[in-house]
Structures are given as structure tokens and as C-alpha cells.
Symmetry: C2
Subunit: 358 residues, 2 copies
């Protein structure tokens, strides 16, 4: 029996219900693969603010550090939007990324054949799209100093953030980019704005240099504005994309939306060592929270990514992924991906039909 200690962070909105389904799925899988999961739950985001005043209590971070992987659901909601920045749910998310050193964020955007009609793009444009965005997650403009709102000499205010990367910060994420590309089709596109930004020029130079170590990877560079266009024009040209924190935030969301079914997309955030964090790409959807309407599959697929990238349990991961395809194939759909002729199920029921095929 292999043992893995998982910290569960249900967070806000639909978080608790999708995570609860996912825990059931993990227990089922655990029995089949002789894996024993030890689950411990902790507070983050709005839930943590309400309970402690802090979106990331120290205790949560400690529990996460003492576990093998962290499974996060979703954070945020209107009621916390007007709090000061250090008390907002998002600050908890940024804090846990920094606190666990999760510098590499992997965001797949894969078109599932069963859901291809959910895309707003034409079938022939998106059929077969399978993109992995590797986003730097603990640097760039999200964390660069100086930042803040300062008074200028003329008495007006000036808001400031700093987009910065050092050689070593670029190197370590570029390495993940190249290794990811190697495991996929061997094509890596690095996205920057080197025609305008010095920080992008450094990024491009370092990625190019690192490319010499990966002669088997076909490396290209693209400006971020063009990448945003090309994702719409011809997404199939991309395999693996590596980019900075801000550009990755924007492009991974655009790429995700190409699929039309953002309720299906997982993500993984990894550090140099220590536990990784796994979470759906979608948000906390407060409008449908607690109504058993949420799609739990992105959360379930995040657990699969956890098994694969965080716990070295690739067979168990594949089993879950195949199970998800199977329930889609059988026609089960939550409201967000519902279409004619399919069987509408709730969050809980989706979990049950999934466990039936595992």
C-alpha cells in the first residue's frame, strides 16, 4: 500500500461540492490501485477570511507543506471583492503559490471530441487542438518590486508594478517548457514581447540559450499580441507554449476558452521540490454554488494531474482520465456542457456515474 497525504482546500462557491465528489473518486481509485490517501482539510480564500480574517492562514500553509500534494477547488466571490487587497481571496492564492514555491503552472487546453460543439470556433479549426501552456507562476509582474501606489511630486497618485525576471528564473521555467515539449510533440513556442520589453529580451535570450541543450525540441518565439491572434486564427499550430506569469494568465484563459468547456480543464502548479498544487482552471461560480449544478470534472481531472505529476501514480491518473471520457461518451452532461440528446446530471450524479465506470 502506497500512502499519500493530501491537503484539501475547498475554498469558496462551488469549491466544496466539486471537491467532495473528487474525494469520493479518489477513494474509489485508491482501492483499485492499492493507494491509501490521507486527507486533511484547510481554509483558503473567502472561507478563510470569514473564519480568520486572513485569506491564507499560516496553519493552512503549514499543513500544505507537510503533505504530498495540495488539491485546491476554487476561491473568490463578490462579497470579498471590496476588501483591502491583503484581505482578498486572490491574495491567498498568490500567497500559496509563493509560499510553496510553485513556479511552474501547467494548463492544458484540450478539445475533447465529445464536446467539440461546445466551442465557439468552427469544428475544423479546433478539432484535435491539444495545447499545454507552461506559465511561470511566482515571478514577473505578479511579484516584482517595487510595487504600490505612490504620490508623485505634483501630488497625484502613480500606480506601479514591476515586471522582472532574472536569468535563473527564466532558466528553470524554460527547462520545464522544454521537458514538457519533449514528452509531447517536441514543439515549443516561447511567448514574450521582446520587441518592446527589456524583460522579454532577457527572457528570449535565455530561452534561446537553453534551447541548445534540447536539439530535439523545435523552438520558436512569438510576440504575445500575435500569440493571442494565432490562438484564434489557427490554434492547431501550437503544442507547448512557455511564457511569463502575466502573459500566461491571459493566454491560458484564451486557450482554455477555445474548447468552449472550461468546466473540464484542470491545472497543475509545481515547485522545485515539495508538494504541487492542483486546481481547476474555472472559478468559484458563486451564482450556482450549493445547488448541485456545478461540473466536477475539471476538479476530478485536477486530481488526475495530481496523481500523474505530484504523486507518481500515472496508472491511477489514466484510469480517471479514461473514466471521464467514458461518462462523456455515455452522454452524461452537467448544465455547462449540456447539449441536445444528452443526459443532464447534477454535480453529485456526475460523480456517481463516473465511479460506476472506474
Amino acid at each position: 500500500t502506497r500512502q499519500h497525504r493530501i491537503t484539501l482546500l475547498p475554498g469558496d462557491g462551488i469549491g466544496p461540492e466539486i471537491l467532495s465528489v473528487t474525494v469520493d473518486v479518489l477513494k474509489t481509485i485508491g482501492k483499485q490501485f492499492d493507494i491509501q490517501f490521507e486527507f486533511q482539510e484547510a481554509l483558503i480564500g473567502g472561507a478563510a477570511i470569514d473564519a480568520t480574517g486572513n485569506p491564507l492562514p499560516e496553519e493552512t500553509l503549514t499543513l500544505c507543506r507537510n503533505s504530498d500534494a495540495v488539491l485546491l477547488a476554487a476561491i473568490g466571490g463578490y462579497q470579498w471583492d471590496s476588501l483591502p487587497r491583503h484581505q482578498r481571496p486572490e491574495t491567498g492564492l498568490l500567497g500559496i503559490r509563493a509560499g510553496l514555491g510553485l513556479f511552474a503552472n501547467l494548463r492544458p487546453a484540450t478539445i475533447l471530441p465529445q464536446l467539440i460543439d461546445a466551442s465557439t470556433l468552427k469544428r475544423e479549426v479546433v478539432e484535435g487542438v491539444d495545447i499545454m501552456v507552461v506559465r511561470e507562476l511566482t515571478g514577473g509582474i505578479y511579484f516584482g518590486q517595487p510595487k504600490g501606489i505612490f504620490e508623485t511630486e505634483t501630488g497625484e497618485k502613480r500606480g506601479v508594478n514591476t515586471m522582472a525576471y532574472t536569468d535563473s528564473e527564466v532558466d528553470r521555467i524554460a527547462k520545464i517548457g522544454f521537458e514538457t515539449a519533449q514528452k509531447r510533440s517536441g514543439k515549443l513556442c516561447s511567448v514574450d514581447k521582446a520587441n518592446v520589453l527589456d524583460v522579454s529580451q532577457l527572457w528570449r535570450d535565455r530561452v534561446t540559450l537553453m534551447g541548445k541543450n534540447y536539439p530535439d525540441v523545435d523552438l520558436s518565439h512569438m510576440y504575445v499580441d500575435n500569440a493571442a491572434m494565432q490562438l484564434v486564427r489557427n490554434p492547431k499550430q501550437f503544442d507547448t507554449i512557455v511564457t511569463g506569469n502575466m502573459f500566461g494568465d491571459i493566454l491560458s484563459d484564451a486557450a482554455a476558452m477555445l474548447t468552449g468547456s472550461i468546466g473540464m480543464l484542470p491545472s497543475a502548479s509545481l515547485g522545485a521540490d515539495g508538494p504541487g498544487l492542483f486546481e481547476p482552471v474555472h472559478g468559484s461560480a458563486p451564482d450556482i454554488a450549493g445547488q448541485n449544478k456545478a461540473n466536477p470534472l475539471a476538479q476530478v481531472l485536477s486530481a488526475a494531474m495530481m496523481l500523474r505529476y505530484g504523486l507518481n501514480e500515472p496508472e491511477a491518473a489514466s484510469k480517471i482520465e479514461q473514466g471521464v471520457l467514458a461518462v462523456l461518451e455515455k452522454g452524461y452532461r452537467t448544465g455547462d456542457i449540456m447539449s441536445e440528446g444528452m443526459t443532464w446530471v447534477g454535480c453529485q450524479e456526475m460523480g456517481e456515474v463516473l465511479m460506476n465506470v472506474l
Copy 2:
């Protein structure tokens, strides 16, 4: 007879050929509306680098300043990509924006019914899309100080750019945003990343404040990652978007590509006073330069924007815009927008058929 002095900046690649067609169109329109154009040509971009070593010679800037409007074609090409930054074509473009104080960049993304099939998105998703992106153009991370590549204490390099906005910089672009929305459907969406960036928090606060002066405008705020998604998911929800320099660069290109026919899209860059600059959204397309294959219509429509926003000649502008629709209606297409059953024409011929319908 009204007189207008226009500085022409043909630039690189397909620039000269599309601008030459546009000048012919302007001459034709001038006769009809009793407008006398005085054209003066100047160097910018790669052409200027080759001739003078400087992508924006002082003489060019002086000529521009002494004119009523500037009509730019396109800049850039592979042969200048590896020059040091201060000698690159893009630096000329950034220089002229700063030099003329062109802080407001208007980028329409309009789906023309005749070209709707060029979109990679489904017809029902893009039919009727008519978005105006108002992008701040002389501030933000494009120009913020400090910037550069610095050595750190540990001896590695650190690339740095600064995203900064002051109250007054936000106010003046927000004003253009509100006024633009007023002239359109009265809906303004301000895009930022206020959940992470201090500079965006300042942006959002100032835009909200300014909104009180425009009770007739329906103001909303959206995070940039969500905006990139929403452009793909449901572009019709947008009318006018106002945003900073970097986010505007990315989102206006994504919005443009929704139309599938970027060879059709013009833009206007305006300052507080002095001449505006008008240019197509597309680039210099060096691969088809000099082959009479380029689509001149974005340049022609940029001249229409010049007439409307820069020279206060709205009737002449409308005449050109209607002419463009008429040639599309008649089935004339350059290669980039060609489809079955249409008549394929070259750059020059497109100009001729257009002048025939004016």
C-alpha cells in the same frame, strides 16, 4: 476648398504599395468633396534605418508635427530584427507615438457581413460583432521607468520593465473611452488586472470616479484574463473597451482576429492636440511585399478614420467606407480574403475598382 497637409509614412514591406493606392483614393475623394490634400512623404522604420541608421529621423518627426494628419502604412521586417533595440523599426513606431503624444489608440474590430465566413468562429457567434478597443498608447509598461537589463548582486542579469499609470494618464484615456462609448451604444468595459496589480487598482478607481460624469454610459470592469476568454466565448457582449497599453495590445489583436480578416482593419492614434496618426492594424507582410498581392483596404479605411477623427471630414470618410462595402458586395477580393465564387484582384486593381464606385 479646404486644405489638409498629410504626412505619408510608407515604411516597409507592403507599406509603399498599399499607401500608394490609398493616396489615389484620397485624391479622388478630394475632388468630390472639394478638399485639397498636400502630401509629404517621410522615412520611418526599416526604410529609415537603411537610409539614416535611425528608425525615426528627427526630420520625420518635424514633418509630422507640421502636418494636419499622419498616414502610416506598416513597419518592420526580418532583416532588422537582430539590430540593437534603439535601431529597430518598432522603436521608430514607439518614438512617433511618444513624440506626437498619441495617447489614445482606437482599434475597431467589426465583422463585415460580406466577410463573415473568414472568421474562424461560428457565424452565430460573430454575426454583428462591432467592438471598439480604446487602448492607452503612450504610458504603461511600454514607457515606464525604470527599465533595462541590470546586474544583480549574485552576478546574474535581471530584466525589468515598469507598468505605471498616474491619475491624469488614466483620466485622459478614460475620458476618450467614455466619449467613444457615448457615440456608440453607451456601453463601456474597462479592462484591468485589479485583483493582482496596484497599477490596475488605481486604473479601476479612476475610471469608476470618472464614470460619475457619464451617467448615460453603462460602465463595467473586467479582468484581462477574463476579457481574453469572453472575446472568444461571446464577443457580442462588448461594445467599447478601454484599457492600458499592454492589455490593449493583446486584446485588440485578439478582437481583430475574431473577424478573420485583419487585412480590413484600420486604427487611429490621437493626442490632446496636434496631428493624429492613422494606420492599418496589420503588419508589413514582407513575404508578399512588392508583388501586388496586398490588401489595401485596411490602409484605405485608415484614411477614412483620418478624415473622420483627424480632419473633421465625416462625409468624405463615410463615402470611402461605403465604397469599401460596395466593392466587397460586388465580390472583389484580394488573396487574404478570397473565397469561392469571388473575383480575385491585386492590390492595385482593388484600388481601381474602389475608385470606380466612389
